[in-house]
């Protein structure tokens, strides 16, 4: 979804192939290398605070983040979602398991789930935006 918005409509399978997906899953820190031939700026962050993440969302990026589903819906698994909006109480995310549209997660629950999954975030920026930041 994020790459499509930037003009590069890759499928989920394309991204997995490019980014070293194996039977053990994928790592968000591989995305930058995997997409190096696509002219977008990919930034990987693993030391952001929750406030830094929310600032990035409010700045118009849609970060891909890992979350621990155990803390959201009781499923023992890590999962990646795209965060599209944050309000005082809710975080709206695009989850490939819910193709009909964004789902909402309570702010505290999201923070716990994101922290438990290692506080990782990947943002995609077009070149002009990178220069502006």
């Amino acid at each position: 979804m994020v790459l499509t918005d930037l003009g590069y409509p890759l499928t989920e399978a394309d991204i997995r192939n490019l980014c070293g997906h194996t039977s053990l899953g994928m790592r968000l820190n591989q995305i930058s290398d995997g997409l190096k031939d696509i002219p977008v700026m990919v930034e990987y962050h693993s030391a952001w605070s929750i406030d830094a993440l929310f600032d990035a969302i409010r700045a118009g990026t849609a970060p891909v983040v890992g979350i621990d589903l155990r803390l959201v819906e009781g499923i023992f698994a890590f999962h990646a979602v795209v965060v599209v909006d944050v309000t005082a109480e809710q975080v709206r995310v695009l989850d490939p398991r819910y193709p009909k549209g964004p789902r909402q997660i309570g702010l505290g629950t999201f923070e716990s789930a994101w922290t438990a999954a290692g506080c990782e975030a990947v943002i995609f920026l077009p070149e002009p935006m990178r220069l502006a930041l």
Binding site: H21, L28, D68, F78, G118
Partner: protein, 108 residues
């Protein structure tokens, strides 16, 4: 009098004891979870750790587990020293891939 001094000495030594790096099961799970997502892959998940008194470590079972197929197979146990947070031996990515292939081929 003597016992009061003894108590004070005990308090001082307790106050100087360094905190445990991994004091509880949730900390152990988070440490292993972070290692898994940054070094191995997001299809592995740390289940409930148990404390092993003999080695003063946490035993964290690692499962092949995805949102679509949660807790499919136990692939490894990872041990973390409770005092220092150091991993006491852990499988490599290649080890884990091999184990997972072995488990899935046995299930076919």
């Amino acid at each position: 009098m003597g016992s009061t001094m003894e108590n004070r000495e005990k308090q001082v030594s307790l106050a100087q004891a360094p905190p445990l790096a991994i004091p509880d099961a949730e900390s152990a799970r988070r440490l292993v979870g972070r290692w898994l997502v940054t070094n191995i892959g997001d299809a592995l998940y740390p289940a409930e750790p148990t404390f092993v008194e003999e080695s003063f470590s946490w035993d964290v079972p690692v499962w092949f587990s995805t949102a679509a197929d949660p807790m499919t197979a136990l692939v490894a146990d990872i041990y973390v020293n409770a005092a220092t947070g150091a991993f006491l031996g852990r499988p490599t990515r290649e080890d884990l891939i091999e184990r997972l292939h072995l488990i899935t081929s046995q299930g076919e």
